[in-house]
C-alpha cells in the first residue's frame, strides 16, 4: 500500500510538472523554425543534420538555467532582472522584447495564412478567424485547460514524423550525417548553419519558460522532475527538426537542390512526391503557427507586465489588468492585421526584428548567467564552476552566432536599395500575388542569403 501510494505520488509529481518545458521547446519550432529547417533540407539535403546535436545541447543548457531559476526563486526572469538591475534596464529590454515578439507574431500569422491557403482558405477568412480564436482561447479559457490544449498541439508535431516516413528518405545517409560534421566554406552553407542555431534560441523563450515554471508552482523540490521534462522537451524539438530536414532532403533535395522562401513553399514542393506527406506538412505548419500565435503574445504581455509591475493574469478582469489585456489584444490585432494589409513591408520588418533579436539575446543570456550565480538568490542552486564554464561557453557561442546572423542581416539591409529589394523580394512578391488576385509577379530571384535569414 505505501509502496503503491509512493509510486503513485512520484508519477503524480512528474505529471504535475509537465507543461512548461515541452510547450516552450515546441513553440520554438514555429513557422520561422520550420522554414529554416525546410530550407536547410531542401538546399543541402542531409548535410546540416549534424548541427542538431550541438543545438540540442545549447538549448538544454540555457533552458535548464531558466527553469532552475524559476523553480528556486519562484519569480519570473523579468521580475529578477527588475529587482537586480533596476527599472531602466528592464524598460529598454521590454521595449526590445515587444518589438521582437511582435514581428514573430506577424510571422506566425503569415504561417497561418499561407498554410491554410494550401487548403484553399483565403487569408481574409483564416487570419481574422484565427486571431479571434487565439484571443478567446487565451482570455476566456482558464490556464490549466489552455495548457492541456497546448500539450495536444505539442503532440500534433508528430505529423512531421509521419510525413518524413511517407517520403521514404535515405535513412542510412540521414543517420550518418546526424553524427558526422560537414563543414563547407560555402557562404550559403555557413549562413544556413548560423540561421539554424540562431532560430533555435530566442529571447522570449527564456522569459516564457521561467514564468511558466513559476505559474505551474514548481519548486526546488520538484525541480529534478522538472529538469527531466525540460530536457525531454529540448530533445523532442530537435527530433521534429530532424524529420523536417529529412522530409525536405528526401523529397526536394534528392531531386535537385532548391531554394525555399516560405514554409508553405516547402509543403508545395513535397506535393509531387506524396499527397499525404504534403497534407501532413501543411497541417503541421498550421498547428505550429497557430500554437505559437497563442503563446508568443501571451508570453510577451506576461513578461512586460511582470517586469514593469503592471497587474497581469488571465484570471484578472479587464478593468483590473488593463495594460495586460490591451497589449495582448493589440499584439494579436496588429499582428494579424499586418498580414491583410497590402504592401506592408513585412520582409524589412522581419529583418529588422532579426537585428533586435541579435542585440537583445546576448543581454538576456548574460543577465541570466549573472543572476543564476547570485548566492543570495539561488542559495545552493547556483552553477557549479564546471557548469559555469559550459554555460559561458554556450552563451558566447550563441552570442557570436546571433551577432553574425544579425550582421548578415544588417549587411543585407544596407545593400544598395535595388539589390536589397530584389534579394528579399520573393516572399514579398508572393504576398503581392495574393493581393493581386493570383497573378504571379515572381521575379527572377538572385540566389540570395536573405532567404535563409527570413525566419
Amino acid at each position: 500500500m505505501t509502496w503503491l501510494k509512493r509510486s503513485r505520488y512520484q508519477i503524480a509529481i512528474f505529471l504535475s510538472v509537465v507543461g512548461p518545458g515541452l510547450i516552450t521547446a515546441n513553440v520554438d519550432n514555429d513557422s520561422g523554425g520550420i522554414l529554416t529547417y525546410s530550407q536547410a533540407g531542401a538546399k543541402y539535403g542531409y548535410l546540416p543534420l549534424w548541427t542538431l546535436i550541438p543545438i540540442t545541447l545549447l538549448l538544454i543548457v540555457t533552458q535548464e538555467m531558466c527553469s532552475r531559476m524559476g523553480a528556486v526563486t519562484g519569480k519570473g526572469l523579468s521580475d529578477l532582472i527588475r529587482e537586480e538591475f533596476g527599472l531602466r534596464t528592464t524598460f529598454f529590454m521590454m521595449i526590445a522584447l515587444v518589438l521582437c515578439n511582435f514581428t514573430n507574431v506577424i510571422a506566425e500569422f503569415a504561417g497561418i495564412a499561407s498554410s491554410l491557403e494550401l487548403f484553399h482558405i483565403s487569408r481574409y477568412i483564416s487570419v481574422p478567424i484565427c486571431a479571434v480564436a487565439v484571443w478567446l482561447l487565451v482570455v476566456r479559457g482558464n490556464y490549466r485547460s489552455v495548457e492541456k490544449v497546448f500539450l495536444v498541439a505539442c503532440v500534433l508535431y508528430v505529423t512531421y514524423i509521419f510525413s518524413a516516413f511517407l517520403l521514404k528518405p535515405d535513412w542510412k545517409e540521414a543517420a550518418v550525417y546526424s553524427v558526422k560534421p560537414i563543414l563547407m566554406f560555402d557562404e550559403g552553407y555557413i549562413t544556413m548553419l548560423i540561421a539554424m542555431v540562431g532560430t533555435s534560441i530566442a529571447p522570449w523563450m527564456q522569459f516564457y519558460l521561467q514564468s511558466a515554471i513559476v505559474e505551474k508552482g514548481i519548486t526546488a523540490k520538484e525541480y529534478v522532475q522538472s529538469r527531466i521534462e525540460v530536457i525531454v522537451g529540448c530533445i523532442l524539438t530537435d527530433v521534429v527538426a530532424f524529420f523536417i530536414i529529412v522530409s525536405c532532403a528526401a523529397a526536394i533535395w534528392a531531386h535537385g537542390p532548391k531554394d525555399i522562401n516560405d514554409a508553405a513553399d516547402a509543403a508545395v514542393a513535397l506535393k509531387p512526391f506524396g499527397r499525404y506527406a504534403y497534407l501532413l506538412f501543411s497541417a503541421g505548419l498550421f498547428n505550429a503557427s497557430f500554437f505559437a500565435a497563442c503563446i508568443l503574445p501571451l508570453s510577451t504581455v506576461f513578461t512586460v507586465c511582470e517586469g514593469l509591475g503592471f497587474e497581469s493574469g488571465v484570471d484578472k478582469r479587464f478593468s483590473e489588468a488593463p495594460v495586460f489585456y490591451w497589449l495582448f489584444t493589440l499584439l494579436i490585432v496588429l499582428g494579424g492585421g499586418v498580414i491583410l494589409w497590402p504592401n506592408f513591408p513585412l520582409v524589412k520588418m522581419i529583418l529588422f526584428s532579426q537585428v533586435i533579436n541579435g542585440v537583445l539575446l546576448p543581454v538576456v543570456l548574460i543577465y541570466m548567467v549573472m543572476l543564476i550565480n547570485k548566492k543570495g538568490l539561488m542559495k545552493e542552486w547556483t552553477n557549479s564552476p564546471l557548469y559555469n564554464a559550459v554555460a559561458w561557453v554556450s552563451v558566447i557561442i550563441m552570442i557570436g552566432l546571433t551577432l553574425a546572423l544579425a550582421s548578415f542581416t544588417v549587411k543585407q539591409m544596407t545593400q544598395p536599395a535595388g539589390s536589397a529589394d530584389k534579394a528579399v523580394s520573393k516572399p514579398l512578391a508572393q504576398m503581392q500575388r495574393h493581393h493581386s488576385g493570383g497573378h504571379s509577379l515572381e521575379p527572377d530571384v538572385r540566389e540570395s542569403h536573405a532567404a535563409h535569414l527570413i525566419r
Binding site: 526563486t73 527588475r82 527599472l87 519548486t219 514593469l308 509591475g309
Partner: protein
C-alpha cells in the same frame, strides 16, 4: 505639486554641502531604521571619495531640490547594518504588499515629505509610488532637468500607496525582527484576500509569512489557497508549525491539505498534532478524496431525537466557533444513527418547548460515505440543500457535506 514633497529619484544624486557650502558628495541611498521610527529617513548614504559616508538625520540643516546642507559635518564611514532598511537596495524595484488594495505591487519610487523643524529638515516617507507617473519619473530623471520632470509628470495620473498600508517582504526571520516587519496588516485582511496575495509571492516569502503569522489566520488563509501551493507551503514549514496551523483548520480541510502532501511529510505533521484533531483528520484521510467521506466535514451539531428547541439553542451556544457556517442540526438516536435534519432557521419561529422532531426537513436525505461526487452534486441541486448528512454503512452519522464544498467542487471541475 507642493514644494515640501521630494521623491526618492530626486533625492538620489542630490549634492551634499558642508558648513561652508562646499560639495562633499552626492546621495547614493537613504535608509530608515524601523525599530526607531517607522517612516523617518534616519541615514543618508553619501558617495564622495573612496567610501560611502553616513549622514544622520539630525546632522542636516536643510533639504531641497538644490541640495542638502549640513549643520554638523562629523560624518562616519558607512557600515552595512542589519537594522537599516535601505530604500534603494531593499525597497526600490522590490515587491511589497499593498494592505489596502490587497495585492502585491512593485515599488517604482518613494515620496517623502520634507518637514521643516527649527532644528533642521527631516524627511518622512509618506507614499510608495507604483504607477505610470513614477515610472515616467524614473526614466526621465537624469535625462531632462528635475523641474521639467515635475511639470511634465502632472499629466499622468498618480498611483501611490500610503506608507502605513505597506507591508514589506523579508524572508530572513532574523532580519524580519531587526526591521520590525509585522504581520498586523496581513492579519487584519480577509483570509481569502490574504490567500490571493500569498499565491502571488515567491515560495520563500510565503514561507516567511506563514512561519510568523498567527496560526488561526494562517489556517483560514491556507484553506483558501490553491491545493498545490497549499502543499508546497505546508512542506516548507517546520512540522511543528505546520501541525499548529493544520489543527486550526476544519478537519476535512486539514485532511484535504494533508492528502496532497508526500506521505512522509503528512505523517510528520500528524505526529506533531494534538490527539483529538489528529484522530479526526486520520479518520477522514481513510476515505477516498472523491467520495462523500472525502468531502464531508466532521464539525457538526447533533442532538438526541427527543431534544427541544431550547436544548438546541443551548447546544449552539456551546459550539460558537462553528456557528458562522452552520445551517443544519442533526437528530440522532442513542446509537448515533441519523434520524432527522433540522434547518437552523426553523428554530427562530418555534417556541422553546417545541420538540425538534416536529421541525425536521422531509424527506430525510442522507448519503453513504462511499457516495460519488456526481451523485452528491445532483442531490444538492435537486433538493436545493445547504447541508447533506453523510452516514457510515451502519447508519451512524459520520459527518456532513456543506454547500460551499459543493461549490468549490464544481468550480474546480
Amino acid at each position: 505639486m507642493a514644494d515640501d514633497l521630494l521623491f526618492l529619484t530626486e533625492l538620489l544624486g542630490l549634492k551634499v554641502h558642508d558648513l561652508k557650502g562646499r560639495q562633499i558628495g552626492a546621495v547614493k541611498d537613504a535608509a530608515i531604521v524601523p525599530l526607531i521610527h517607522p517612516s523617518r529617513v534616519d541615514r543618508f548614504l553619501i558617495g564622495g571619495g573612496w567610501a560611502w559616508l553616513t549622514v544622520r538625520h539630525d546632522q542636516i540643516r536643510s533639504i531641497g531640490l538644490d541640495g542638502i546642507y549640513l549643520k554638523d559635518e562629523v560624518l562616519t564611514p558607512y557600515h552595512s547594518d542589519e537594522y537599516m532598511l535601505r530604500l534603494v537596495r531593499d525597497l526600490l524595484d522590490q515587491q511589497i504588499i499593498d494592505g489596502q488594495g490587497r495585492k502585491v505591487v512593485r515599488v517604482t519610487d518613494v515620496t517623502f515629505r520634507i518637514q521643516h523643524d527649527q532644528e533642521g529638515d527631516v524627511l518622512g516617507i509618506i507614499e510608495v509610488d507604483i504607477g505610470l507617473r513614477s515610472m515616467f519619473r524614473r526614466l526621465a530623471q537624469g535625462v531632462i532637468p528635475r523641474g521639467l520632470v515635475r511639470r511634465l509628470q502632472v499629466v499622468i495620473p498618480p498611483h501611490s500607496i500610503r506608507w502605513e498600508h505597506c507591508s514589506i517582504l523579508e524572508a530572513d526571520p532574523q532580519r524580519r525582527l531587526r526591521l520590525n516587519v509585522s504581520n498586523e496588516l496581513l492579519e487584519r485582511m480577509h483570509p481569502a484576500d490574504l490567500a490571493d496575495i500569498v499565491e502571488d509571492l515567491s515560495p520563500e516569502d510565503r514561507e516567511a509569512i506563514f512561519e510568523t503569522i498567527d496560526s488561526e489566520v494562517a489556517a483560514e488563509a491556507l484553506t483558501e489557497v490553491e491545493p498545490d501551493i497549499q502543499a508546497s507551503i505546508l512542506e516548507s514549514l517546520e512540522a511543528e508549525k505546520a501541525a499548529e496551523i493544520v489543527e486550526e483548520m476544519s478537519p476535512n480541510e486539514a485532511a484535504d491539505a494533508l492528502a496532497e502532501l508526500e506521505p512522509q511529510t503528512s505523517d510528520e505533521i500528524l505526529e506533531e498534532m494534538e490527539q483529538e484533531p489528529k484522530t479526526e483528520v486520520e479518520e477522514l484521510l481513510e476515505y477516498h478524496e472523491d467520495s462523500a467521506g472525502g468531502l464531508m466535514n466532521t464539525e457538526y451539531v447533533a442532538l438526541p431525537e427527543n431534544a427541544t428547541v431550547a436544548d438546541a439553542m443551548e447546544a449552539l451556544r456551546a459550539h460558537e466557533e462553528i456557528l458562522e457556517t452552520l445551517n443544519t442540526l442533526f437528530l440522532v438516536d442513542d446509537q448515533e444513527h441519523l434520524k432527522g435534519s433540522v434547518p437552523l432557521a426553523r428554530l427562530f419561529t418555534a417556541s422553546g418547548v417545541t420538540p425538534l422532531k416536529d421541525l425536521v426537513a422531509e424527506p430525510l436525505l442522507q448519503v453513504d460515505v462511499t457516495e460519488t461526487q456526481d451523485r452528491i452534486t445532483e442531490i444538492f441541486d435537486k433538493y436545493n440543500l445547504l447541508a447533506l448528512p453523510v452516514v457510515e454503512e451502519s447508519g451512524k452519522l459520520a459527518g456532513a457535506i456543506t454547500a460551499d464544498e459543493v461549490i468549490s467542487l464544481l468550480r474546480h471541475k
